[in-house]
């Protein structure tokens, strides 16, 4: 399900990792030192080197993707042969170019450039054809595609790749690890994130083949297997936890809501896998509680899980009791009825079901009673309507209970067994009793007395239960 969300979000599918082949990577790796030398003048030493290698690896990953591979490689190769500026590697990474230029100036820029570079690498697949014919110079001129960046920013910001880039010393490893990230589905990236989170800061070797190797086991994993993948990723582990913490404050906002597996270690929060899993669980639970809040009427004012659960429990209990009462009603009502009307009834059932649908959902169980009285004005006599309206005043008000108790003393014992939503039950029993009367009056059955006794004894038998 989560994977579907990822795909719908337009993230390139997982073919990234599967189609990653060694050949384009080796090409790029061979070219990377060329690029490094060429770009030396652009960067300060540490940033430049690491960024360059990161660039190359990132570039190579989109190259290996399954879409438009040839055109991509073509585009990537031409820039390499062109002048020493870093415009080449990828037309997408034009954001990187300008970002690269500023990269030396500001670590904050590094962050942003990292993000944009990820956009570049990520948007590479979909934008290859678009950017194909464009001139490299033009691409270098424009910083990056803001729309693409904006579109992809939320998703990318939630990936660990950005945070890894923004780090300082472990950049190379993180970046190299990052290039498979954009193409991955949720569980994988989350797994990547969770796995290194459990580790302390580790230095990173992580050339791209390493990360590509890790991709494949990552693909098959799911949420529960993050610990298993940790062993795979051990060598690639970097100080992602630290970086994520540092960047959590910067990139906290756009966590995709559907991506419930993505857990970001927020600033000041524990980052071990246990607490992460706990947090995921808690978020899931609170999400479901919100859904339940919409289902259960009258729960909007209630805050807090305990109270909500109480409300839910009461509501489920009341619904179950209503089913019992209605089945009892059906059992008594149908004794005297002929079932030839079933066909007519089925039609009517659907129609009145439709009419019932809307008013039934408003807000509390008073709606049940109120609506029932609305529906059956010709049905019962004024007696039932009177009792119904009494019930519909405030079914949850226990003050009504003693009032109704006095009306029907034989139901008293039953009322004691009813903890919550009592008035509906009483009202139903009343209608049950009085229906016996009404029925018999309308049909002039000789079973008048029998029915009455039957319904009374039914209520007594309920008490015995």
């Amino acid at each position: 399900m989560e994977n579907r969300f990822f795909l719908d979000a337009g993230i390139p599918p997982l073919h990234f990792g599967s189609s990653l082949s060694s050949s384009p990577m080796s090409d790029w790796q061979s070219l990377s030192p060329v690029m490094e030398t060429q770009s030396q003048d652009c960067f300060p030493t540490d940033y430049g080197l690491q960024y360059e290698s990161a660039l190359s690896s990132m570039v190579s990953s989109p190259a290996a993707s399954n879409c438009n591979m040839s055109s991509e490689s073509l585009m990537m190769s031409t820039p390499l042969n062109s002048p020493p500026k870093l415009n080449l590697p990828v037309p997408k990474s034009m954001g990187m170019n300008s970002g690269v230029a500023d990269f030396s100036a500001d670590p904050g820029f590094a962050e942003r450039a990292a993000k944009f570079s990820i956009f570049g690498s990520r948007s590479f697949n979909c934008r290859t054809t678009q950017f194909g014919p464009k001139d490299n110079g033009e691409i270098a001129a424009c910083r990056f595609d803001p729309s693409a960046a904006n579109v992809k920013l939320p998703r990318v910001s939630s990936s660990p790749a950005i945070k890894t880039l923004a780090a300082n010393s472990q950049e190379e490893s993180t970046v190299s690890k990052q290039h498979p990230e954009p193409g991955f589905k949720g569980p994988n990236s989350r797994k990547r994130k969770a796995a290194p989170k459990a580790k302390t800061n580790e230095t990173s070797p992580s050339p791209s083949p390493n990360s590509s190797k890790v991709i494949k086991p990552n693909e098959a994993s799911n949420e529960k297997r993050c610990k298993l993948s940790e062993s795979n990723e051990n060598e690639n582990g970097s100080g992602k936890a630290v970086e994520e913490d540092a960047n959590g404050s910067n990139t906290r906002a756009p966590e995709p809501p559907k991506d419930y597996i993505h857990v970001r270690a927020r600033r000041g929060q524990a980052t071990d896998s246990h607490s992460l899993a706990e947090r995921v669980r808690r978020e899931k639970i609170s999400e479901r509680m919100k859904l339940l809040q919409n289902l259960v009427p009258g729960c909007n004012k209630v805050t807090g899980k305990a109270l909500m659960l109480n409300e839910i429990i009461n509501y489920v209990q009341s619904l179950q009791r209503q089913v019992e009462f209605l089945s009892m009603k059906l059992a008594t009502v149908n004794t005297s009825l002929d079932f030839n009307v079933e066909s007519l009834m089925s039609k009517d059932v659907f129609q009145s079901n439709n009419t019932l649908q809307h008013p039934i959902f408003p807000v509390n169980s008073s709606a049940f009673l109120g609506h029932q009285s609305q529906q059956n004005p010709p049905l019962h006599g004024n007696i039932t309507n009177g009792t119904m309206t009494q019930c519909s005043v405030d079914p949850l008000d226990s003050a009504i209970c003693p009032k109704l108790n006095t009306h029907l003393p034989q139901i008293n014992q039953f009322i004691k067994t009813v903890p919550q939503y009592p008035t509906f039950c009483e009202g139903d029993l009343e209608t049950l009793v009085q229906m016996g009367f009404g029925q018999n009056q309308s049909q002039e059955m000789a079973l008048h007395s029998q029915n009455f006794q039957g319904s009374n004894q039914v209520s007594d038998m309920k008490v015995e239960l």
Partner: protein, 161 residues
């Protein structure tokens, strides 16, 4: 009298069809004279079982609670001779229940009591962790409301006739 709102494959229509069929079966052999309290009580039980069963069948096995209900009904009918009439024949799997409790305590013992109650209410809830339990509860509530609506309408229609 518009039948256009009718969705023949909706939960409500499925349940209604099944329940009406069950009702005809229950009421068919009865004659007017059979209105003794015991008969009524037996019929009540049968109708209740029919309601639960038809709702569970309408949901098929897509939900844990429906599967649990169907399984419970089947075992109950089988073990009816052995078990006394009023007692529930539900089987609690201790291992899964303890696992559920583990999750509860790990998450926070605050919701432990209510979660236990909810587990008792929702059929098949003993073996679910809180997350799935809430999911099942939501679906169960939806089905229960449908059930109540349909049964109430039927009862009203019957009492009109």
């Amino acid at each position: 009298m518009d039948l256009q709102n009718l969705n023949p494959s909706s939960l409500k229509s499925r349940f209604t069809a099944r329940f009406l069929r069950a009702l005809t079966e229950i009421n068919a052999p009865k004659t007017i004279s059979s209105s003794s309290p015991r008969e009524i009580f037996q019929r009540y039980r049968r109708i209740k079982v029919a309601a639960d069963k038809s709702m569970a069948y309408s949901v098929r096995s897509r939900r844990i609670w429906s599967r649990a209900t169907l399984w419970r009904l089947r075992t109950r009918s089988r073990s009816r001779r052995l078990v006394s009439f009023g007692r529930r024949a539900s089987v609690k799997t201790r291992t899964t229940a303890s696992h559920g409790k583990e999750n509860k305590e790990h998450h926070g013992a605050v919701l432990g009591v209510q979660a236990e109650e909810l587990r008792e209410l929702v059929p098949g809830g003993e073996a679910m962790d809180l997350c799935n339990l809430l999911d099942e509860t939501a679906h169960y509530i939806k089905c229960l409301t449908t059930q109540v609506q349909v049964m109430r309408t039927i009862a009203n229609l019957y009492s009109i006739e």
